[in-house]
Subunit: 147 residues, 2 copies
Amino acid sequence: MNQIVETIAENLISIHPLLYKSISRPIRSKASITPGGMFVLGSLKRHGSLSMTDIGKCLSMPKPHITLIVDRLIEAGFVVRQNDTKDRRIINISLTSKGLKDFEKIKQKSSEILKSKLILLDDQELETLATATQQVKEILISILSKV
Amino acid sequence: MNQIVETIAENLISIHPLLYKSISRPIRSKASITPGGMFVLGSLKRHGSLSMTDIGKCLSMPKPHITLIVDRLIEAGFVVRQNDTKDRRIINISLTSKGLKDFEKIKQKSSEILKSKLILLDDQELETLATATQQVKEILISILSKV
DNA sequence: TAAATTAGTTATACTTTTGTAACCATTACA
DNA sequence: TGTAATGGTTACAAAAGTATAACTAATTTA
């Protein structure tokens, strides 16, 4: 029981640097957005609209950092601030259509290295990887993506 | 064919921020080592011993950055520099026993958040995740972990 | 209504990461 | 042997991430 948790954690820790290398770094070199900005855009796409505090919880980042990232995203026209109608302290952040479109475009570009390696796999491996990544994604989202 | 590659890339891009949140950030707050340092230690553990240039290739990082990271790791007693006997330009970096031991300890600690969530899963999900992460890990290592 | 909480920003200081260019030592090669 | 290429460091600059405290505005609660 505990052993299997250890094994999973160990596997995920091995996967992490590979994704970092193939996703985060290409973002920095190819796009005019930081990994932090991409994380925020991803949270917004998943949850629709989030307050500053919720974004911080989503990414385990301190609020001042979120302020900075969102400032840059607004400057780029990717997101907008909207005052909450019920609680005027709250500022909700939402994707603009430009933000959504560019987010997808940047994801495409930043995963080029990844894809260039993936096409080297044979059909069986691709099949396996598609299923496996789907399962990992769904389960991780279910336990880690709480706002 | 191309579609399945897109799907896999999409899945991995969704997984990445979840791992970042659950692994990289806890490292910063709980351990006296940076994520960059952890990546280098991980590469060394996998490959045994690497030259500065190979570490850079391994992590897609510029060489001056590797110099900095390795300097800090040496200061902490985690790795050692060894001149190559055949080519005196090359400096090989290897883990010390302390480095190996502490690396495992930090991995344990940094994955605590992850594990605290994983134990909420039922046996069937754990089983699925163990298999799926293993498959993802092995295939990604085979295509992305070239030195 | 006064005090405590909460949401968000500002300010500040620091570390890490990134990128580039210049540099030295060694090796390969023409 | 002289030139080019390679491995690594140094130096410099700038961007990004991290952390904390202090602050304003709005809300809750006692």
